[in-house]
Point group: C2
Chain length 145, copies 2
DNA sequence: CCTTGACATAAAGTCAGGTTTAGGTATTAC
DNA sequence: GTAATACCTAAACCTGACTTTATGTCAAGG
């Protein structure tokens, strides 16, 4: 069992954030001893999942729904699975977008390297959009797809 | 040359957002014809980069600084390159975090598949944390690292 | 005893990034 | 000529996710 201060340290989250999550209903089974929160391994695992669901763009109120389902037991397995599956798809899509953004930034890095070497963008303007070196062309095409 | 409505369609962005970006100084060289904005290829490429920089978590006011540099010409190449390089590093870090979150969700998918098949979590509780099937163990370990 | 530190609450405040509203202009379609 | 569209501005408004503030409780150490 852990105090809010210990959990705050473990997860590198402000205490105020943990209290906010609790107030929003993200720990429906959280125990208290004379008013003081006592976080168990169940809450730590919940917190790990909360961070992943947040990364998937899920809102707090929808994370709360998940945690309520979890407190309800086996009857909600399929609801929980459906939600996780949906957020997995969102993250996969987000990963693809992020890779595209990364290719744009890699292209721009090469672009400015070249511009710095040349002192201007004249040569670059002649190579864009389809006369770039093969590896750079791939970055450019993906970033502009 | 494109009107704001055409750009809105091309990028699937609300007109209000494009006007907001303009008001925030993201298109310092945007032309107007009797008050009406005329977006050129320069602004379209800026917009593509804006979307990538936003994905990297860069704030509007810092994107504005970049666009001001771009309008200043070759003297700012190295400033621009440094900013792009820094945001590339941020995206690479974000990609790693997102993959970790994805592994957590993949693990939870398997978890609920199993719980649904078993009707309870008894067997799962015995396998966690280190007696999982090898491929699942990898997901679990990465998600809990 | 009294101060320090960790815990607690409710309610107000903050912030970025838009969005909406209210009111106006300019061109084209009938 | 007037109605529909597409454009314009300034300023108010909104939202989610915290964070801060003001106030209070409680246990341990000197």
């Amino acid at each position: 069992m852990y105090t809010i201060g210990q959990v705050s340290e473990m997860f590198d989250l402000p205490i105020s954030t943990l209290r906010y999550y609790d107030k929003e209903g993200l720990f429906p089974e959280l125990e208290r001893k004379s008013g003081i929160r006592r976080f168990s391994d169940r809450e730590l695992e919940a917190l790990r999942l909360i961070e992943c669901l947040k990364k998937s763009g899920l809102e707090i109120k929808d994370i709360k729904q998940f945690m309520i389902w979890a407190a309800e037991g086996p009857s909600s397995y399929s609801d929980r699975k459906a939600l996780i599956e949906a957020r997995k798809a969102v993250i996969e899509a987000e990963l693809a977008k992020l890779k595209k953004a990364l290719d744009m930034l890699k292209f721009k890095c090469w672009y400015y390297d070249t511009a710095i070497r040349d002192g201007n963008e004249d040569r670059l303007r002649e190579m864009i959009p389809d006369k770039l070196p093969p590896d750079i062309q791939k970055l450019f095409d993906n970033a502009h797809a």
